[in-house]
Symmetry: C2
Subunit: 363 residues, 2 copies
């Protein structure tokens, strides 16, 4: 098969240009005599790779000098524990639950703290189809931090950072599935984290962007690789970082710059999402997406067929048409198309054509 | 530059055959329509990759059915914390300190347990040039486990598993830098762990091989991805595992099988190590390695030049001759050649020729 149209929720499609560059450099990175997989951590070659990746990321996101960038492991799931382990410092913290992932973050924080964190609001009774409104949110003004997930990969709910009111406590955000898909006002946040397998690169790399004043609050018994302050002091080298994944992330950052940076990505992502939601909404109920219009995700579009007996045929025929990764998460069923940066407008056009055709044949 | 001779201690050289296969499959894994980096975790393609990798690893090491194989993140350094967090269960544990890495493991276990583990023996006063002898080892018969590091990457000390006496408590081994370089009697161990960036593949993957009876002892407050029992129940999918690193490890396992398995690797590794130690020992003191003959590592050969003022010239001229990664670890200085599986006999021959020539010109 040639390259298919890949709508997987993560690990997900990578830009073909990035893959071709990685392929070309695999046995010999720019005359180094070895590939990026095989480089000594402390040699000047890998040092230049990680320094360039950090500089490009800072440039793309406009990360202020008062923030550290860490290249860690363990994914967002490990951050669900690591955030409270580092930041709680004997206090409580507030969580806003807007879907499966912020719920997991909240439960994991409860687990590792023995119940010391609070749910400040939950949209669960709506089936996570809308955001909690202001009067539903009960904040603790003394909380160590307020945790949000700004894009819910499973429920397809996205919160624009501009909409989050300043509550006076440090804001911590899981941005795993939409970081780098749009500009972000980093200075609104105390800590941003993201696993890489959506818009950044390979599973196994986790980015943490943390404001200096939140470093150094972890207890002395925290595992050293999980201590943000130690990782910051050691430039993410407390343990060997995932070097090849950092190299690929660096290629992705440069690719995003060539696409016009985050403004360019955002324009493309809006066009893609608009096209798919328009197809769903115009299908006369054949397809539907239940999420309120003001918080529909540009990245992850879950949808159902009115007749679930057609699900298997939809997936089979999609696959035959070269459309991969459309099965919805098992916890919600139905379908899901993930439209990360590397998914092209052309891919979405092919998907929409297939969906219109499938509806016509089965409607 | 063409491919150099890479003696890096890790991340380290990978077999050229493996790199070429990864290169070929990078954009399309065997007709899947996407590469191994981009595959949905739960699809049949990635499921077949991880299942084959586990089957091949079990086959190579002869892992009994009573052990689970976990594909985790965080490297050996995270295991230094994870082992006591899982296995201590309110008791103490014994550590044998034979070099920098077992010392780090001991200190990290002390850190995360608030000092609840013991050093049962240390070879530090010898400068880690020999193993502790039986009468120096003071074991606690009630210890939760006994921890050893069977190959010390920095000090070049290797312990053959056959030499470790059964003490009646579960034996836990950090085998990061020599797993898969020789046969191992897995059944002597309760838990074996190894970071991948030596003989297995990419930095960011950690293998854990754990006997069933050691699962389920972690406290309920342990972060979920760090709980061995949860990872075992979920086939290493508590958090997204480093999928591409697992794919590369699978290619390496199949390459090792084609080399005659671990017996084949061992024969090759003995030949390589013998050649290099012979060169050092025959140099009339120009080069020296201080480690006792019965515990010299086949994998990591640290050596010094009698005249340290020649170090810079040695490294410069080695690099010019296409010999990379020979600088010793900063904590011990001098030189180090790592002779992992992917380092060929030819590479060692070139190194030895260079060393003989350098000695002749500067002796």
């Amino acid at each position: 098969m040639a390259r298919a149209w890949n709508f997987s929720a993560g690990p997900a499609a990578l830009p073909e240009e990035v893959l071709r560059q990685a392929q070309e450099e695999l046995l010999d990175w720019r005359g180094a005599g070895c590939g990026a997989m095989e480089m000594n951590l402390h040699g000047k070659e890998f040092q230049s790779i990680i320094a360039q990746a950090e500089a490009d990321l800072r440039d793309l996101l406009g990360i202020p000098e008062t923030y550290k960038v860490l290249f860690l492991q363990g994914g967002a799931t490990q951050q669900f524990a690591q955030v409270p382990m580092n930041l709680l410092a004997g206090r409580s913290a507030d969580y806003i639950v807007t879907g499966a992932w912020s719920q997991k973050a909240f439960r994991e924080a409860q687990r590792v703290t023995g119940g010391a964190v609070r749910c400040a609001a939950s949209a669960e009774e709506s089936g996570f189809t809308r955001l909690p409104v202001a009067e539903e949110i009960r904040l603790d003004p003394f909380a160590a931090y307020l945790h949000v997930c700004t894009n819910e990969t499973i429920h397809g709910v996205e919160i624009s950072a501009e909409r989050i009111a300043d509550t006076g406590v440090p804001l911590v955000a899981d941005m795993s599935s939409h970081l780098l898909s749009r500009p972000v006002p980093v200075e609104k946040f105390g800590l941003i984290y993201a696993s890489a397998q959506k818009n950044i690169g390979l599973a196994g790399l986790t980015l943490v962007i943390i404001r200096h004043d939140l470093l150094g609050m972890a207890p002395l018994t925290i595992p050293t690789p999980m201590d943000y302050a130690l990782q910051a002091e050691n430039a993410s080298f407390v343990n060997t970082p995932p070097t090849f994944a950092i190299y690929v992330a660096g290629l992705v950052f440069q690719w995003i710059k060539r696409q016009g940076g985050l403004a360019g990505m955002e324009a493309s992502n809006i066009a893609k999402a608009d096209m798919l939601y328009a197809c769903i909404d115009a299908s006369g109920g054949f397809y539907s997406n239940a999420v309120a219009a003001d918080c529909r995700s540009r990245m992850n579009v879950p949808f159902t067929l009115a007749d679930a007996r057609l699900d298997a045929a939809f997936l089979d025929q999609a696959k035959a048409a070269g459309l991969l990764g459309l099965k919805g998460h098992k916890s919600v069923g139905g379908m899901r198309a993930s439209l990360y940066n590397a998914v092209t407008l052309e891919a979405v056009r092919v998907l929409v054509e297939f969906m219109n055709d499938f509806a016509k044949r089965n409607g």
